[in-house]
Amino acid sequence: MAKKLGKKARKFARKNLQSAAKRNRKIRNQINHRRPRRGGESLRPAPASRGGAAREDGDLEAPQRVDDATTMSTNDDAAILINGLEFPEDDFEIDADFSDSDGYLSEDPGCPYYSDSEDCDAGKDCIMQDGLGRQNEDMNLDIKKQKKKLKKLLDKDPDFANFLEKWQSELESYRSKEDSDEDDGMDSMDDDDDDSKDGSSQSAKILTGKTISEWSQLVSKEPKSPAIRNLLNAFRDACRYGVHSDSSSMQRFQNARVFYQIITFVLSESDNIFRGLLEISDDANKGQIMNLKQSKKWKTVDPLIKSYLQNSLGLLSQLTDNKILAFVLTRLRASVVLFSAYPSTSRRLLKILFRLWASGDQTLSLSAFLMIREVASLLPDCLDLCLTKAYNTYLASTKLVNDRNTKHIDFLMNCLVELLSLDVQKSSERAVTSVEQLNAILRQASKTKEKEDLRKIDNWQYINCVNLWVRFLCCNYKDYNLHPLLSRVLQVIRGVAHLFPGTRYLPLRLKLVRMLNELSTCSQMFFPIPSLLFDCLEFREVSQKAQTQKTRVNFSSLLKVPKSLLKSREFQEQCILSAIQVLSTHFAQWSYHVSFPEVATIPLILLKRLHEQTTIESLHRPIKRLIDQVNENKDFIERKREVASFSPNDKASVDSFLQDEKSSGNTSFTRFYASVAENWQPRGRKTL
């Protein structure tokens, strides 16, 4: 009965109390509607509109991006296109039922509360340890002092007491008026008010460590035990701890250890418990869950699961520490499949997940990603949303690249490729639209050659987008027929290299060459890499004057070299080293091919010349080393092919030439490349 009453109360509250969240939702919807038609289109995602110029920006969490979008979408369609690099996402009707219930469960009175006195003292002292505690102490003293003063005054003038009382009652009435004015200013958790009606009796009870451990034991022994309800309620309070300072739930936790106990136990065990209750196996999929939804069993477990999931989400959005977040995510990952029963909750989950994914912390974003991937693979209807969100998040976070976040961006890209590879057919459609957009921007720029148009290419978003599709191709080229996409991407890469000649853009160019190398490795096609590297190898304008301050040039976070560095020693050094690096990759790929000597001919001539002429001592060794290794391999191939009996037009023989050696990977050049590649920054990805 109590439960029913609670429900009613909650319903009432929902009807009459306009919560802030609801208002937000309203505003968001309005925004969605305001965006002319785009939002509408994305509601019914037609394939054409999906990647087109329309761009839906329901994501208020990234106001930066919104700003950017408005500034960028100033006039021409190319501008829209660069925005259009992002896919439209539809955030509509998110959390439609998320305030459905706050997950409060009625408790079985049969579960006793235990009190333990020892814990009480242990808890106290740890509270007062931090700075806030000290401040609180000071305040306490202050209050005492002031109260004394007040008392004195009151003693002195008894009339004053009357006056004060009057004033206070006035104040209160004023406050309550204000409250009713803006009572929707409180969060959706306001529903607490009504809980307190039915939950007050329980929540007043103090949770002690002993109680929790007793309950835990009970639940572990028998999942169907009513203690689970108590535990989940405790978990709920724990998850909301601190949201409302004056709520009674604040007082429920005796100390920090109790808090810890509840959270860890519930997080680590509840998945097992639920599965036990529902009698499903570990690899249950969505279909099974949906089937279960009709069953009677489900009805009993449903509120438990709901409460658990929602409160976990609440915890996620509240926590700030990366490690705890990662922990929660890892635990929650086990129960991803349960989310399939609550679509809106899973949307909310994704929103939180993408925020965490884009955050800089490595372990956190990794665990967030794993969770995303789990969601995407277990809940097929979330895949589209996941891809769109992931893509947009990726683009938004690659806007600025500096020395620190290159790794992170690389990681994000790999994650995104993982997601895209879940369903290659679906994502190749996206790839095509995105690459077409890139191509259109490129054409526009090459037609007008205007600064503004060029800047659309000479920026990180564009380059990272190209890189993304290159990596996507690399990962999936073998298994799918992606050749048409490959040639489009190649066109873009060549076009960009052509549009930005000159030494200033060498970092950009090196990036493109790396992409070409990647593509070449995966597709086994030949790319004339050296043609893009002549600038690097023939560039020897070192300023005579010694540089006073040492500047470190990091190509991975540069597209264009600042003019001041153009003639510096560091730049040149970096330039040549990178060129050596990409050239060795190129050579390594063809080091077993019958025409390796010819591949190496022209670069060798240049390298030799460079070795003779360069004035930078530190470069002599690496250049010489490469020359020697290439020469050695050249001689090796020449010796081998002299005894070969086939002609160049014998394709099969050419292909099988030296394949044994290749698989054993024991030539000196392979070893050289392996040793050198180690020194370069670890790429953090599978070598294909």
Binding site: I324, N481, F526, S645
Partner: protein
């Protein structure tokens, strides 16, 4: 006599202000303020000579309606013509094709207007109505003041011609000028500008209407353009330009000899003479003004534009020389706009030779040659590039060979050789020819003026002279580049910057190669050889070479073109050029050098050539194959097309496609292939195998890979057979087809559609390396987690505690504060009480 005539004339009212619909006229607040505010402002209008206005209006009445109509019509037409004749004068730059807009003067001297005959009658009525409109007062005012002045001047001019001075006009003019001065003071600069503009318009209109009688007003226009106001000057220049463009006769005005002057002539002739004399004098003054203004930066553009336009329309007229000199000088101006304008003018001069019978062409070419010489070849490339629009008759050389086989040609040749030192040989033939032409000029002046077609001989003479001047500058540039590369080779290595003229010069030599005389062919070739070979690595770093790769390639191309266009009759050794090309292939850099030049060189030297030496062909084949491996697809396809062609022509080289045991198939001098050899003959390429093609088959570009397989298929064919042709292009076309620019300018292809088999991947990761993923799975350390969670809790509790305490503290503090308030109130109460008591007491 004259006076009476004047009286009979219908004098039209002055120009009406532009017609404006009544609705459109709105008297702005400013206007009202202008009239209402200051009586001074209104003063000029009070001075309005009501009578004279009336007179102007009334004068028309009572006359024959038809005549008035006609006069009105004529003026409207004139106005239309004038405004279209000087389009730049208008603020809104109305561009009207002058051909349509300008009146045509028939043989009878009548001016025929091409358009705007209709819709005049309505205008007449409306124009009378608008007469009284206030808003036009200003304009009307100035027009009114101007017209009499202009008219009087025109009349004066007329009178002078007729020797019938009308004395009565003079005081009137004086009066007008007095008034004018008075008014001038009150006119602001803007009004002054408006006034001058109107004046110019008036004068120009009059000029166009009847240049013969109004020729004197040219002087007035000139004097207006001496104004202090820059805008007025510019307007004046442009209106004069328009007038001159229209009235310059199609003949050249000749200076009268003493004898002719002495002879008594009829009135008509006198009048014409006077007209011509004035015209030429004004024209000269105008040109002088232009030349002087050209030096002032603010008039630079206008002056050059005027000169260009004049040269374009009247290349036959007097003072062409000075015009040409200025324009040529500006050919290498650093100002892009000016340079473009001048280049266009010179080009049109070259193309439309009919206007000046080629005389201007030769003058221009000579001037450019001098210019090149004076500036030591340091000019903008555009100044030489204009030569490319020169046109010569194809049979120029041939006919001459047939006709005057020996002498003049030789002279010319020598002259050309010496022309480098600027010594025009003066021998008999030349002088005689000149004498003849001079005599003819004197005698047949009229005839020439009438006949526009040149006789072929004359034409040929002019063309030959042009040609010699052209080659003079070309050779000068060549020599100059040679001397510089010798002496200054280490000065700086900004290739291209040192020889700005070399590239267009080589282009030109290539284009006119068929016109070069056989006699200095040898010298030319050796010159080119030297230029192309400056990379010689004898102790020199190639970077210090002053000629860029493209320029050197161009030298090779030109040499071959010259050789070939002379029917290959020349006995010169072109071997060196092959060697150069062989080495230059390796020096080519995609972004630095022009790929088209390389492709062109491949085409000219290898693709178009006949049978090649086998050794050389083999060397090129091997090098091109290697080249294709290291360069982009456009270069690669050009190389492959050439390679294929070479293989087809030299069937023996097809052995390179096969791998016999022991490496190469043919034994030759050099047993082992040396890829870095500089001499194609010593590379031993025949001993090599074209393994490159097997890799090129894997080239990402479809056309390259298919070309490679096509070539490879030759191995299985007989030496006489050729494979199925797949690309019927020469290297240059092939290059252009595949160049990135072309690719980017192509419209985007149709949308991609990928047909993928649905294949759902398992759970394995594709992009992330396993060790990264493992990192996530080793969950957080328990103790750490505990600590973190507990501290999280602590912080939260701390915060809530803090909040609570703060609230309490605030509450207490405010309670204390309330005490003061309480006291105050108390005091007040007490006061009130006392006051009340007082009142009660009272």
């Amino acid at each position: 006599m004259g006076k009476r005539k004047d009286k009979n004339k219908v004098v039209l009212p002055p120009e009406l202000p532009p017609e404006v619909d009544d609705d459109e006229v709105d008297v702005s607040d400013e206007d009202i303020a202008f009239y209402a505010g200051d009586s001074k402002n209104v003063a000029p209008f009070r001075h309005f000579d009501q009578k004279s206005i009336d007179r102007y209006v009334k004068r028309v009445t009572g006359r024959d309606e038809g005549e008035v109509e006609r006069l009105y019509e004529e003026r409207q037409k004139r106005k239309a013509a004038e405004s279209s004749g000087r389009p730049r004068e208008e603020d809104d730059d109305l561009e009207v094709d002058p051909v349509d807009a300008l009146p045509i003067k028939t043989l009878q001297g009548d001016i025929v207007y091409n358009r705007a005959k209709k819709a005049r009658s309505e205008d007449n009525s409306s124009s009378v109505n608008s007469k009284s409109q206030e808003e036009g007062a200003d304009a009307k005012h100035s027009v009114k003041k101007d017209e009499p002045k202009g008219k009087s001047k025109i009349k004066k001019g007329d009178d002078k011609v007729k020797n019938t001075q009308s004395q009565t006009e003079i005081p009137k003019g004086k009066l007008h000028s007095d008034v004018l001065d008075e008014v001038k003071e009150e006119l602001s600069t803007e009004e002054l500008f408006e006034k001058k503009k109107a004046q110019l318009a008036e004068l120009g209109m009059a000029m166009l209407e009847d240049p013969e009688s109004n020729i004197r007003s040219l002087n007035d226009m000139l004097s207006i353009s001496n104004d202090k106001d820059q805008k007025v000057v510019k307007l004046g220049l442009m209106s004069l330009l328009a007038v001159f463009k229209d009235i310059i006769p199609s003949y050249r005005i000749r200076q009268l000899t003493e004898k002719e002057l002495a002879v008594e002539v009829s009135k008509e002739v006198k009048k014409t003479r006077y007209y011509e004399y004035t015209l030429i004098r004004c024209y000269k003054a105008y040109l002088q003004k232009l030349v002087s203004l050209e030096k002032q930066p603010q008039f630079y553009h206008v002056a050059v534009r005027c000169m260009c336009a004049l040269l374009d329309t009247a290349p036959h007229f007097n003072f062409r020389e000075s015009l040409l000199a200025s324009v040529v000088k500006n050919l290498s101006s650093s100002d892009d706009v000016v340079r473009k304008m001048c280049c266009e003018t010179i080009r049109s001069l070259f193309v439309n030779e009919g206007k000046h019978r080629g005389e201007a062409t030769i003058e221009a070419v000579r001037l450019i040659a001098d210019h090149v010489k004076l500036n030591d070849c340091q000019l903008h490339p555009d100044s030489i590039e204009v030569f490319l629009s020169l046109r010569f008759d194809e049979d120029l050389e041939k006919d001459e060979k047939e006709e005057e086989k020996v002498k003049p040609k030789k002279n010319k040749r020598r002259q050309n050789q010496e022309a480098l030192k600027q010594l025009p040989a003066s021998d008999k033939k030349k002088t005689r020819q000149e004498l003849i032409s001079k005599a003819r000029e004197e005698v047949d002046a009229d005839l020439r003026a009438v006949s526009f077609t040149l006789d072929p001989k004359e034409r040929k003479r002019i063309q030959k002279e042009t040609l010699s001047a052209l080659f003079e500058s070309y050779f000068r540039i060549l020599k100059h580049s040679m001397s510089v590369s010798n002496s200054r080779s280490k000065a700086n290595n900004a290739s291209g910057g040192l020889h700005p003229l070399l590239a267009p010069c080589l282009d030109g030599l290539g284009k006119f190669s068929h016109l070069i005389d056989l006699d200095f062919m040898g010298e030319l070739i050796s010159c080119l050889k030297k230029l192309s070979g400056y990379s010689d690595r004898q102790g020199q770093i190639p970077n210090d070479n002053t000629l860029s790769v493209s320029e050197r390639l161009q030298c090779c191309i030109v040499a071959f073109k010259v050789w070939r266009s002379n029917l290959e009759a020349l006995n010169v050794d072109l071997q060196d050029f092959f060697v150069q090309l062989y080495n230059l292939i390796l020096e080519y850099r995609p972004d630095r050098d022009r790929g088209e030049v390389l492709a062109d060189a491949l085409k000219t030297l290898l693709w178009e050539g006949k049978q090649q030496d086998m050794l050389r062909a083999a060397a090129f084949i091997k090098r091109l194959a290697t080249f294709a491996l290291s360069f982009g697809s456009a270069e690669a396809i050009a190389a492959l097309v050439t390679l294929k062609h070479l293989l087809q022509k030299n069937s023996k080289c097809r052995n390179m496609l096969e791998n016999d045991s022991g490496g190469g198939s043919l034994s030759c001098l050099v047993a082992k292939y040396n890829p870095e050899a500089e001499d194609p003959y010593l590379s031993g390429a025949l001993a090599s195998v074209l393994w490159e093609l097997s890799l090129l088959e894997k080239h990402y570009d479809n056309s390259v890979s298919s070309m490679a397989s096509n070539i490879l298929s030759m191995a299985n064919l007989n030496p006489t057979q050729n494979p199925v042709p797949i690309l019927n292009l020469n290297p240059l076309e092939a290059y252009r087809d595949l160049s990135t620019e072309r690719e980017l300018s192509k419209p985007p292809g149709k949308a991609l559609s990928l047909n993928l088999k649905k294949k759902r991947r398992g759970k394995e990761f594709v992009a992330l390396s396993p060790d990264v993923i493992q990192k996530a799975d080793c969950s957080v350390d328990k103790d750490v987690l505990k600590e973190k969670l507990q501290s999280h809790f602590t912080v939260l509790r701390g915060i809530s505690e803090n909040e609570r305490l703060r609230a309490e503290l605030n509450h207490t503090l405010s309670s204390i504060n309330m005490y003061k308030e309480y006291k105050k109130q108390k005091k007040k109460n007490r006061k009130l009480k006392t006051a009340r008591k007082k009142i009660a007491r009272v």
